[in-house]
Subunit: 347 residues, 2 copies
């Protein structure tokens, strides 16, 4: 039914105001002198029609759209929503529209969004968090980085390494390796020697970096490789819980759980509580990220703070201000001692 009437255009406004379309354009953009009386007539006409500019027509000329793409795994994961917030804290002061795309951790979905964003002539695109290490994916990423650069846009890798061979992209580094290292050293100092490590999904840049950090630190602190058990999950709370339940039912012997993100650490807390195992008296738990709720669970989670919001803001600044390949470092990671980790029991 809806007979869509033609939208009101600059021309409509112009004829009502009795001026040329160019003049209307000038008052709207305001970067050109226009007589006050004419401006007033134009503005009256704009209000009369409730006229709003058509970005597409303008984008056709400038080859820019005012869109900043943000590609991440899942908005409802606090890690990502904090980063997204950081991004939006900088776009809010501009006319940029931050477009948040959820991939559900699917690399192909990521590629699809990249293409879609390219199609929209996004002024820049930020890729947040872990990425696939698969060569095909990495290759496609490089292709898109170059394509975006050719469009005068920029691809920014936020919290994941630049794929080898890209010079066309920007990056905001975060010390994933150092984060787990810090956590593992902390546990070692507390006397823990048998550790359950909850890793993320395989073939994933962050999983790899965090695992390497943990294992490297364990080695340095003389914890035998066979005493750290690595189990892979999907970074969800549920997955952390299941992993620990399995370990428990297998009778695995450990005095500490090091989860590669806070969500899994919280899952671990739940599993331990249900099994009647005291935290931190019997088992210590340490997470990574320091998402807001980490402070509110019981016992409050000891974790390593990653500067999530700052990462987002830094990536956004790189994207909107510099608009050319470069890199920034996020602030250093930091151990946050709360209640879930304590000296190992000596039984």
């Amino acid at each position: 039914m809806v007979i869509t009437e033609r939208q009101t255009t600059l021309n409509d406004v112009a004829s009502r105001a009795g001026v040329s379309p160019a003049t209307v354009s000038r008052v709207l953009n305001g970067n050109y002198p226009v007589a006050t009386s004419t401006r007033d007539r134009v503005l009256e006409a704009v209000r009369h029609y409730d006229y709003v500019l058509n970005v597409h027509a303008r984008a056709l000329i400038h080859a820019q759209s005012g869109i900043l793409g943000v590609i991440l795994a899942d908005v409802s994961d606090p890690f990502f929503s904090e980063v997204a917030r950081g991004v939006q804290s900088v776009t809010a002061q501009t006319d940029l529209l931050a477009v948040i795309c959820n991939t559900g951790s699917d690399p192909d979905q990521e590629l699809k969004y990249l293409n879609l964003l390219r199609t929209h002539r996004a002024d820049a695109v930020i890729l947040v968090g872990a990425g696939s290490e698969h060569p095909r994916i990495q290759g496609e990423l490089v292709r898109h980085a170059e394509g975006l650069a050719r469009q005068g846009s920029l691809l920014v890798f936020c919290g994941r390494p630049l794929p080898g061979g890209t010079t066309a992209a920007g990056a905001v580094d975060v010390d994933n390796h150092g984060a787990t290292e810090l956590a593992m050293v902390h546990l070692a100092r507390l006397g823990h020697r048998r550790i359950l490590y909850l890793a993320g999904p395989p073939a994933n840049t962050t999983t790899t970096a965090r695992l390497a950090g943990a294992l490297g630190a364990a080695k340095k602190r003389r914890i035998a490789r066979r005493d750290v058990t690595v189990r892979a999950g999907d970074l969800s709370r549920r997955s952390g819980q299941e992993l620990v339940e399995e370990a428990l039912s297998e009778g695995l012997d450990f005095t500490a759980v090091l989860a590669s993100n806070d969500l899994m650490a919280i899952g671990a807390l739940v599993a331990l509580r249900r099994a009647g195992i005291g935290v931190p008296d019997q088992v210590s738990v340490v997470g990574i990220d320091d998402i807001p709720i980490a402070a509110d669970v019981t016992p409050a989670l000891t974790t390593v703070r990653l500067p999530m919001e700052e990462m987002g803001a830094a990536a956004a600044k790189l994207a909107v201000q510099e608009r050319m390949p470069g890199s920034r470092s996020a602030p250093p990671v930091q151990l946050i001692e709360r209640e879930s980790a304590a000296p190992a029991r000596t039984d």
Copy 2:
């Protein structure tokens, strides 16, 4: 430095393939017969240049952009991120780009985004959660709803009432009133007679509806109006904590806290724990929303489940499928009994 080369266009592809631009357009859109051999040459040229279509040029013709706007207060609030996830679960199966805009609960920011989205010829816009009750804002909302309708687009109110006088918008209703009612009745049944109610910001549709639900239920259960103390916060965890700390320091007498959202309820839990007050033995706490972490705090939060993800999905379906005024109801709210509420102490 970056000398932005002209982007590759349909014409470039056409000349490399030795065909007319019209033909390229036809193979790209695929809704028109093209000889297989020509199609192959065209596709080769597309790949050769890594050509991607320009949405703006197309939008200029179709007056549609493939953008679905989602305006909400804060992505990092679990309530909103769950709704956003629901929206994206439906857009993921389409070529629509969901654009998430954070207003920080500022109605003027909301209006600004609405305008920006209109400028982008968004196919539809979803307004999530509470809105201002201020007449000026409501009037502007109506204006935008009509403007969007005129553009062949649609404004959908998700979880907030339609402003009076709009017929140009869609709506997904959620029973805010019923939610607090349920919670209050639950507390009354448990024998609580002196209640601290943690409300949201004033002049806000959700605050009003939830408060009315709570107060109405209290009255029905014969709880005197003076026995329910209402304090207004900003829906953050911190605010819930502060409100309870204040109440405690004033020596306010209450046996239960009813928070108008889970985040504030969690803040209340923290304040109570710090004050050495046992939950639920000495004071019961009930929240509203049932955000994912509600189950993971200690004690696990008793709350009323709002179908957040379903609301988002329903709104998105309304927006993309029907594209015309109408309304859907979200599933009913539901009391989730966990550990934070128990019979009132009888001292």
